[in-house]
Symmetry: C2
């Protein structure tokens, strides 16, 4: 049996996890999968992790020790970022090595181009770990569900914000306290922007949409709304109306093209996504044949991410062990257009902080009416010290109309603070 040489770039948390899984399960993979995975080269800036893992003899600080090493059949990129990692992956592919990566930002920016480069060199590029950590989702979309026209993907793909929203909802914490708690527990970075502003989720939904809709969709094309303006009042109003608030990454196939976006949303408590709590992730997929499916698990962390990286390694190694020709055709893309997000209609939850005085309700209602937004319900919350909050639920309304109405309400001086705007998600919509 051919030994498959593995080289790893980057020995941080995930890199070390991958090494440990390879060491622990080498014999299992030999027996169960009939493949012989051998770690032959590692590279990282400093040698401390390599020494701790007993890999000093195959360590070099020079990345070409992996990317240009003739013993390496598959290179694993776990450096992160879009600069050095991009160079190293290109170098490895050009040297006819298959590549496994967990780098969501890079794949969401240069994925299609790197896939083409891999195909040119008759090697493979795999990135199951880039979305949903340990959850198998790229594989099922590419293989098992390839029989479907995918109609909708709705993901809870950021554990940090899902944890925070849960705490704001269950314990009534405000945003700042929930963030501080998440940081203390190691769930949020010191600079939490990528998580709380929705950029991490945007990269992931761009990757999923690119695969599911066979259309090149990049990170910068995903409109993103974060969670920093949400308050415990929003959570309470959601609960009273039968919803929970989640940060959703959405990519629908609509008549107008791909409707892609990241934003907080109210999810009906009976929807499978509503029960995804804490740092867990889930990706809900609707296909024309399969109907509704959902994939659930740990979206981050050393071991879950290592699970997906090594899963890819096993798959690529089996191809190299048992197949003379590597199969990765360069697909024609479907090149679907992006839909105009402003025309997408949703039911909205709108919270307007106002002065508690006669006429504010009438004024706000008339602005909604003027823009054709039909109101399903309205209640006034917490009038105190001359302040109050008007809580609206609308019927289906185009996003652009709601945005215009909110801009107009803000400009009118009626609002004492920024309004809150959350889409609701109902079964069958």
């Amino acid at each position: 049996m051919k030994t498959i040489g593995i080289g790893i770039l980057g020995l941080g948390t995930v890199g070390s996890g991958v090494v440990r899984v390879l060491q622990k399960h080498h014999d299992d993979f030999l027996r169960d999968q009939e493949i012989d995975l051998k770690l032959v080269a590692v590279s990282s800036r400093r040698d401390i992790q390599a020494r701790q893992l007993g890999l000093a003899d195959i360590y070099s600080p020079d990345p070409s020790h992996v990317t240009a090493n003739p013993e390496v059949d598959i290179a694993v990129e776990l450096i992160g970022g879009t600069d050095a990692a991009y160079q190293h992956i290109q170098a490895a592919l050009r040297a006819n090595k298959s590549v496994v990566t967990a780098n969501k930002a890079l794949i969401a920016t240069h994925g299609r181009e790197l896939m083409s480069l891999a195909a040119e060199h008759c090697v493979e590029l795999a990135f199951e770990a880039a979305v949903g950590g340990g959850i198998p989702i790229i594989g099922p979309l590419r293989h098992n569900l390839a029989s479907n026209r995918i109609l909708s993907i709705i993901g809870i793909v950021n554990g940090t914000t899902n944890y925070m929203l849960g705490r704001m909802s269950d314990a009534g914490l405000d945003y700042a306290t929930a963030l501080a708690e998440a940081q203390e527990l190691g769930y949020a970075e010191a600079d939490p922007a990528a998580d709380v502003e929705g950029l991490d989720a945007a990269a992931k939904i761009a990757i999923l949409a690119t695969i599911a809709y066979n259309t090149d969709i990049r990170l910068e094309q995903v409109p993103t709304q974060g969670i920093s303006s949400l308050t415990p009042t929003d959570m309470q109003a959601a609960a009273e109306a039968g919803y929970v608030v989640k940060l959703l990454a959405v990519a629908n196939r609509s008549a107008e093209g791909i409707d892609i976006r990241v934003h907080p949303a109210m999810v009906e408590q009976s929807h499978p996504l509503a029960s995804v709590t804490g740092v867990f992730n889930a990706i809900y997929v609707v296909g024309d044949a399969v109907g509704e499916t959902m994939f659930y698990g740990r979206g981050a962390g050393e071991e879950p991410t290592a699970s997906s990286v090594v899963g890819d390694l096993i798959e690529l190694a089996r191809h190299q062990t048992y197949q003379k020709v590597i199969a990765q055709p360069v697909w024609d893309t479907e090149d679907l257009p992006l839909a105009d997000g402003g025309k997408i209609a949703s039911r909205f939850y709108l919270r307007l902080p106002v002065l508690d005085k006669p006429g504010t309700l009438a004024t706000s209602a008339s602005v909604f009416a003027k823009h054709g937004i039909s109101v399903a319900s309205m209640v006034q919350h917490g009038a105190r010290d001359g302040q109050a909050e008007l809580i609206y639920f609308t019927h289906l309304a185009p996003t652009a109309a709601v945005e215009t109405a909110l801009t107009e309400l803000t400009a009118s001086g009626l609002l004492t603070n920024a309004p809150s705007c959350i889409r609701t998600m109902n079964a069958g919509e």
Copy 2:
């Protein structure tokens, strides 16, 4: 590009669904997957469906029209049963055709042997649709999660019983009424035994365990308890204690071997499996690296099942189009023993119908004590007309001890009716 010839045996509900997906998406598969799937032969007992589907010109009642047809590259077996289907699959594999099947009973009985036959002939045998209908689970277990030592699989894999249990719980229906309703809706067969006695679930968990634990486990080795003895009282007691009742198919890797079984169980309301309602299925998998994952979707029906069958067809067709050598090594099995089910400890819910008279509580409690079963809580329900029910929740107790105690209680004449015995499932157990 090579055209891949498809032959279908059986044009019932699923067979017709597969034909429709192939007709509808031929051009999508060509563009997105670069494969050309062509239906070249169909066979069924009568020609009516072939004529309805516009396939009269490639129809024959003779199965060898598919299994011995030189134009057929991949044969799809959708006849069901373990007699004729077994012969036809063997014939196709011996004629060097890959085979896709949705036949759970056959794979749970002869799966390993047919996989070996396929490997001998350098072709493939795929059966994603045999478990969980449209839910991708065989693929993820074989590929993405192959990096893990799988520790536990817990499935809700029978939609009929999940629907019935939901109605018994939510609407307070008794078993017979729930069954009649399920039959009326087409969710249950006229002869419901395979579903309600747990045999359908047993076949599915045997297949999953065979894949996940790389050990040959057959249907007849799975101890099975059905749902026919459950009453609305059980559902209500479960709800009061924070549980929902589900028919679970369980396969754990324990120190003693594979602990495999099918039975009703109480699932904590906060567990992801608790929110799987109606005819939906879900398979909850725990791996040593990935941690907890769950795969959710429609477990039956024409279109979901066709989704999995055609997913397998695409995968096998890609292998045949882009690879000179088909890769399906014959694995060495791990040959794990089956665990002694009697030694498996669970927390049990036990309902004892008794005469409402002094001493019954003391007598039943003493029988439990004698067999080392520690009681966590006891309440008496519904004393009326001299009848009452004692509802026990136990601490962890070996299954055999509980069975012996119940046998002894029944023999003692204390019980006025059959007792109810349901394991509870707690997070982390």
